[in-house]
Symmetry: C2
Subunit: 418 residues, 2 copies
C-alpha cells in the first residue's frame, strides 16, 4: 500500500470512529482521557527514550537550540501533559446540549443540538506535547482526530500515540479515534488536505509559513491562527503609571508568545513625559527599542524602525515604538500593520475607550489591561486548542466548545409544507 | 488599469467601507435598505430594459429555457426584490449585542461583542434577484459586499447596482459598501478568491461545479452550500397515512429545490403494504420511480436504480426508492450517499426517533415531518442567504446573524499577567 492509500484509509477509519464517538457518554470520554494521562506517566521512560532519538537526530541535523528546546520532553513536561488531560476530563461536556428550542405556528418544534465536528486534522510542528493536548481536546468534544506532527518529533509522537491507542482500546473506544500520520514526507500533508470527504476541519498550529501553506492547499475548511502583531496605544489621557506597568508586562513577561506586545503607540502629547522613562525601563529589562523618527527625537539613541519593523512579530525582547497624533492614527496603524489578534488602549477617557473597543477589528480588544491575557485559561474558557485570528466559526481563544457544531433537530407530528 | 488591478482596488475600497459600516446605526442601514427597495420599484422599466438585453443575448447563445427563466425579471419579481429588502430592514439588527459577559477573579470583565464579518464576496449564477437579496442581507449585518454574478446577467446586475449605489450615496453610506465585479472573464473570479487580505468570507451560490471550483481555488474562508440529496426513511412502526402525506409533499410540492426528497428508504417489514400504494400515488403526481431490486420485486415495472442514482440530486419529478432491513442500514445509506442537508424519519417508536435524531449527521434532522421545511423562513429565522451544508461557522439555513462574528472586549483597570 503506498502512503497516499494509507492516509485515505486512516481518514476513512477516522470518519467511521467519529460516528461512534458522537454518541458516547461523557463518562466514557473522561475515563479514556484519565487513562491516557495515567499511562503517559507510567511510560515516562519509554517516551523519554524515544524523545532522545529525536533530539539526537535533530542535533545531527544542526537544528537551532530553540527548536531542540521545543522538541525536548522532560519528566516535568510529561507531567504537564498528564495534568492537561485531567483538566480537560474535568471540564463540562459540550455535546448534547440544546442551545435553543422554539415552536413554529404549525406545531413543529425546532432545536439546535450541539454535536461534534466529526473528524479534525491537526497539523503542527515539533512540540510533542501538542500530540496529547490536541488529542485530548478533540476527544472531549467527541471528534476523531488525525495528527500530523513535525518529522523531527516522529519517534516521540509514535511512542505517545501507542500509549493513546492502548488507552482507547482498554476503555472500549475505537482506537482509530486518535491517529497519527506516520509518514514524514511533505507530500503526506498535501494528500491529507484534499480529503474533504472524510475530514471536517483542519487546524494548523505553528509558524506563519506552515499556516499559509495549509490555507493555500486545503480543500477542507481551515481554522487558522496567524501571527500576533499586538499593539498597545497609550492615549494622552492615560494614567501613566498604569501605562508603564501594562507596557512592561505586555512586552517582557513572556516575549515569545503570540499575545505579547510587538509595537507601542504613544500619543504625541505625552511623548516627552512618557517615552524617555518607559524606554529606559524597558531597556533595564533587556528590551531593544526600534523607534519612528519622532521617538528618536525624544530618545536619540534608539535604532530607527524600518517599514518592515511595523509588520514584525519579534517574539523576542525587541519593541517597535511609534508616536501618533491621535487615536485615529493609532487605529489606522493597527489595521494596516496588525494581525487582528490582541490590541489594547490605556486611557482614562470614556469616549476614547469606547471608540477603541468598537472600531478596532481584532479577536481581543482591551482597555487598561495587558494583551498577555488572551488565552483560554486567562479568559476562563479552560484548555485551548489555539487562538483563532480568523472571523468564521471561532475567533480568539478556542476551547472545547469551538471543536463542536450544531445541527437542527425538528420534532413534528405529520407536518407538510403548504 | 488592467482588470486584476481594478478588482484589487474594489476589494480595498470595500474593506475601507466596511470600517464605517461596522459602527453605523441600525436606522441608517434600514433607511438605506428601504431606499433601495423604493428606487428598484421606481426604476422598474430601466431594469427590465437591461434585463431584456441579457435575455436576447442568452437566446442568441441558445441557453436552456430553465436558465433563461432564472435570468428573467418581471414586474412581479422586481416587486419581490423590493419586498425582500423591506423584510430585511424590519428584522432586528444583530450587531452590537453582547452575547455573554463575565468577570474574572482578577477583576477583568470579558464580553463577546457581536460585530460584522467585514467584507463578504458572493459568487452566484444567473439569477439577478440574488443581487439585491444578498446585498441587503450583507448590509443589514454591517458588511461590505462584493458581488460577482453570472456573465449572462451582466446588464441586469449593472442596472440594479447603479440603483443601489445611488441609494447608498443618497442615504449617506459609502457607495463602495456594495460593489459589483463587472468583468465577466472567469479569471476575474480567480483573482477575487486570492484577496484574503481584504475579503473575510466567500459565499458561492449555485450548482455543485461552481461551489467546487470556489473551494478549490479560494484562500479566503468559504461558506458552502452543496447539493441536497435528502432522504426520508419510513420505519416499520410508522403511521403509514402520515408517511404517505410526508413522502408526497417532500417529493412533489417543489421538486426543484435542495430540500426536496431524492431517495425514499422503506423498512422491509412494511414494503409489501406501503410500496405499491405510495408508488402508485407518486406516479399519479408524475413522479418517475427508480428502485432497488427489492422494490422491483414489489412493483415489477419500476426502472432499476443504478449505483449513481443513490448519489443524485434530481431536482425533478424522479425518486430513487430502496428497501432497507433496519434503521442502521438506512442511516448507513444516508451517510454514504447523502449530502448532510435534510433527513427525515417517519416512525411512532420513541427509541428509533431518538436514535435517528442523534446519529444522522446532517444540517437538519426531522422526525415525522417533510424535509421541505429546511429554510430560513420556515424555521422562523427570517430571510436567508443560503443553506450551509458545512459544519464550521453556520450549518443549515443562514440568516443575517450568520453574516456576523464576535470579538472579545475586555475592560480592565490596570491588570497585568503574573
Amino acid at each position: 500500500m503506498d502512503f497516499k492509500e494509507k492516509i485515505v484509509t486512516q481518514a476513512r477509519l477516522a470518519k467511521k470512529a467519529s460516528r461512534s464517538l458522537a454518541s458516547l457518554s461523557s463518562s466514557s470520554k473522561d475515563q479514556a482521557l484519565r487513562q491516557i494521562a495515567e499511562l503517559l506517566l507510567e511510560n515516562e521512560n519509554k517516551i523519554l527514550t524515544a524523545n532522545q532519538k529525536d533530539i539526537e537526530s535533530a542535533r545531527g541535523k544542526q537544528l537551532s537550540e530553540a527548536m531542540i528546546d521545543r522538541l525536548t520532553l522532560t519528566s516535568a513536561r510529561i507531567n504537564g501533559m498528564a495534568d492537561g488531560l485531567r483538566e480537560i476530563a474535568a471540564q463540562p461536556d459540550p455535546i448534547g446540549s440544546v442551545d435553543r428550542m422554539w415552536k413554529r405556528p404549525n406545531g413543529l418544534e425546532i432545536g439546535l443540538l450541539r454535536v461534534p465536528l466529526g473528524v479534525v486534522a491537526i497539523i503542527y510542528e515539533s512540540r510533542p506535547n501538542v500530540t496529547s493536548d490536541a488529542a485530548g481536546l478533540c476527544l472531549k468534544a467527541g471528534n476523531a482526530v488525525i495528527l500530523r506532527g513535525g518529522s523531527e518529533a516522529i519517534h516521540s509522537n509514535t511512542a505517545i500515540i501507542q500509549i493513546i491507542e492502548y488507552s482507547l482500546e482498554s476503555t472500549g473506544l475505537p482506537k482509530e479515534s486518535i491517529q497519527l500520520i506516520s509518514f514524514t514526507e511533505r507530500q503526506a500533508v498535501q494528500e491529507l488536505l484534499r480529503l474533504d470527504e472524510y475530514i471536517d476541519v483542519v487546524i494548523p498550529r505553528g509558524g506563519e509559513s506552515l499556516i499559509r501553506a495549509v490555507v493555500e492547499n486545503s480543500t477542507i475548511p481551515v481554522i487558522k491562527h496567524f501571527k500576533g502583531v499586538c499593539h498597545t496605544f497609550i492615549d494622552d489621557k492615560a494614567d501613566l503609571l498604569m501605562a508603564q506597568k501594562i507596557v512592561i508586562n505586555a512586552k517582557v513577561q513572556r516575549p515569545g508568545v503570540c499575545n505579547a506586545m510587538e509595537t507601542l503607540l504613544v500619543h504625541k502629547n505625552i511623548s516627552d513625559e512618557f517615552l524617555p522613562s518607559i524606554i529606559a525601563k524597558l531597556r533595564d529589562h533587556g528590551v531593544e527599542i526600534r523607534g519612528c523618527s519622532k521617538t528618536q527625537a525624544f530618545v536619540p539613541d534608539v535604532i530607527p524602525a524600518s517599514e518592515e519593523d511595523w509588520f514584525k512579530e519579534y517574539l523576542d525582547l525587541i519593541l517597535a515604538v511609534k508616536v501618533v497624533d491621535s487615536i485615529d492614527e493609532a487605529i489606522d496603524h493597527i489595521h494596516h500593520y496588525g494581525s487582528m489578534h490582541s490590541e489594547a488602549i490605556v486611557t482614562s477617557d470614556y469616549q476614547l475607550a469606547r471608540k477603541f473597543l468598537h472600531e478596532v477589528d481584532a479577536a481581543a480588544v482591551y482597555v487598561n489591561a495587558s494583551t498577555r491575557f488572551t488565552d483560554g485559561g486567562a479568559f476562563g474558557l479552560g484548555a485551548e486548542i489555539g487562538i483563532s485570528t480568523q472571523k468564521l466559526h471561532a475567533r480568539g481563544p478556542m476551547g472545547v466548545k469551538d471543536l463542536t457544531t450544531t445541527k437542527y433537530i425538528i420534532y413534528g407530528d405529520g407536518q407538510i409544507r403548504e
